[in-house]
């Protein structure tokens, strides 16, 4: 298995490829089902893994779990990830789907939350190739809460088709989505972001914000925000701001002597930093930062 260096000897590592499974963390694993019943921080690493067509995670009642889900692939992968959060479970999950070469990923991430469960998702997408990603969240229990932050940096001819759907199936459920989209070269990012609150699911809150910067003339960012609200007594909002880099911000930095390259990269890092700062693990954060700068350093800055 080809492994990221800093993960190799990690005592909380769980790693799969189609041949072997490493379970340093001693988690209950049965076939494609992982059960987490002790609070901790876990690293789940998948190297070209598609032995099963789904991988299932159960977070037991009242457990407080952090999972860093990192996948690497060098060929086409289609897989589902299912997460079940039992009552009062608290899951903070970071995902980073990366490719070693230009290839194809089709992933469905499905989260189901019971009463008082809390889910925080940090998704990083820096994939080389084509991605079809569906993130579906079912807020099935009273007071279930989800917070999604997604950072997508697309370069070269990469294509991303991302659907995010949150279903408020119970009263007083809360969802928050923040997407940070950056495109350069000929990359294409197409997002459909929807929140549904059914009739009778009062006191629910559903909020989404989509921000995007296009760094080249030939890239594309498309966002379709949708709210399906069938109940009066709720709060729902969406906003989208997609555009070129702010010329006045650039001018301000230039007026203090920063070169155009430095000014642009500072503005971009300012855009990315709030996401990076949400990542608790330093090594994971550093790895992502360097992935991103490899992606956008070359071309983005001289247009």
């Amino acid at each position: 298995m080809e492994m990221l260096n800093f993960l190799k000897d990690n005592p909380y590592l769980i790693a799969f490829d189609n041949i072997e499974t490493i379970n340093n963390a001693n988690i209950a694993i049965k076939d494609n089902h992982l059960t987490f019943n002790k609070g901790n921080e876990f690293f789940v690493f998948l190297d070209n893994f598609d032995k099963f067509n789904s991988l299932n995670f159960t977070i037991k009642k009242e457990q407080d779990i952090k999972i860093y889900l990192i996948t690497y692939q060098s060929r086409k992968i289609e897989i589902d990830y299912n997460f079940e959060l039992q009552e009062k479970a608290n899951l903070k999950i970071f995902t980073n789907f990366s490719s070693r070469r230009k290839t194809f990923l089709n992933a469905n991430l499905k989260f189901t939350l019971a009463k008082n469960a809390k889910l925080t998702v940090l998704s990083a997408l820096t994939f080389n190739g084509e991605v079809k990603l569906n993130e579906t969240v079912n807020l099935n229990g009273l007071n279930a809460t989800v917070d999604i932050d997604l950072l997508n940096v697309g370069g070269k001819t990469s294509k991303y088709y991302v659907n995010q759907d949150v279903f408020h199936n119970e009263k007083a459920t809360i969802s928050n989505i923040d997407n940070w989209l950056i495109a350069t070269d000929q990359a294409k990012l197409a997002y459909s972001v929807s929140g549904s609150i059914q009739k009778g699911k009062e006191f629910s809150k559903c909020r989404q914000s989509n921000k995007g910067i296009m760094l080249s003339d030939s890239c594309e960012i498309m966002v379709e925000p949708k709210l399906f609200i069938d109940e009066y007594n709720v709060e729902a909002s969406h906003g989208a701001a997609i555009g070129q880099m702010d010329e006045l911000q650039l001018y301000y930095l230039l007026s203090r002597g920063l070169t155009e390259n430095d000014a642009r990269s500072l503005i971009i890092s300012g855009y990315i930093n709030p996401f990076i700062s949400l990542i608790d693990n330093k090594e994971i954060a550093t790895q992502l930062t360097s992935q991103i700068s490899r992606l956008i350093r070359r071309k983005a800055y001289n247009e």
């Binding site: 911000q249 230039l254 007026s255 002597g257 500072l266 300012g270 990315i272």
Partner: protein
């Protein structure tokens, strides 16, 4: 050390704003520019800095005898030009500290590198001088700053960057009485033969703290009168009408205009 603005005509979106402006500032001098709203004062400062929206129709800007109008904005800054903006720009996600650090690093020679400890001390000293508060370094650039904090932050940058010619565009607006005094003192401390200052202001109170050597009155895109402190007093009390009258300047605003076909309810 001279900054010379020669017969400058500048437009924005096809509106001619500066109409034959001349100004020479030598090292060590402080010039105040006063004038009614919309007369082109900020335009002058912005065009010298190289703002992308403004266009030079004719004329020249010379720094130590060499034209800088072909230079990029960052080159002008590294040549020693500085503009404390009337409306400083907010840059989310970029900390004040990283920004000022990058601005200093870009001025260093290839083989030099920043002594970070010394830099931090200097930064802290400057923010203390301007009573900016401890958290400033790690706040995002101008984001959520109060009007007065933004202005003080401009002066902080000026202190850190040691420019040779600095435009301070309405640095007094938004400052409370104490902050005005503080900014005044800080700028006055920076005065030296190595610094030419151009203060754009509407009010006398700033000029009580930063004493100018020359006072210029700008109307309709050019400097129409130059004097000393006595001008400030008179403008403070009487406004600009007497200048216009004395020089026979037609007020653009008083041209008769028709209300045309404004929709009205009956």
């Amino acid at each position: 050390m001279t900054l010379e603005i020669k017969d400058l005509y500048v437009s924005i979106e096809d509106n001619l704003i500066l109409k034959g402006l001349n100004l020479t500032v030598n090292g060590g001098e402080t010039h105040a520019i006063m004038g009614p709203n919309g007369t082109g004062k900020s335009t002058l400062a912005q065009i010298c800095m190289g703002h992308p929206s403004y266009k030079i129709e004719s004329g020249d800007i010379l720094l130590d005898g060499e034209s800088i109008i072909e230079k990029t904005v960052d080159e002008r800054s590294r040549l020693g030009l500085f503009l404390a903006m009337q409306n400083p720009i907010e840059v989310p996600g970029v900390t004040n500290f990283d920004f000022v650090k990058a601005a200093i690093q870009t001025r260093m020679k290839k083989d030099e590198h920043l002594r970070i400890g010394r830099f931090i001390l200097k930064f802290e000293k400057a923010s203390e001088d301007l009573k900016m508060g401890k958290g400033l370094a790690h706040r995002f650039l101008n984001q959520g700053f109060s009007g007065g904090e933004k202005k003080r932050n401009e002066i902080l940058q000026m202190k850190m960057l040691n420019p040779r010619f600095a435009f301070l565009d309405e640095i007094d607006s938004g400052l409370d009485v104490d902050a005005l005094k503080l900014v005044g003192q800080n700028v006055t401390e920076l005065k030296s033969p190595e610094l030419g200052l151009i203060l754009i202001t509407h009010y006398q109170r700033l000029l009580d703290y930063i004493i100018p050597d020359y006072v210029h009155i700008m109307i309709n895109g050019k400097i129409v009168m130059t004097g000393k402190e006595e001008l400030i007093n008179r403008i403070d009390q009487e406004g600009y009408d007497w200048v216009k009258k004395e020089l026979g300047i037609e007020d653009l605003e008083t041209k008769p205009y028709s209300l045309g076909t404004c929709p009205s309810k009956h």
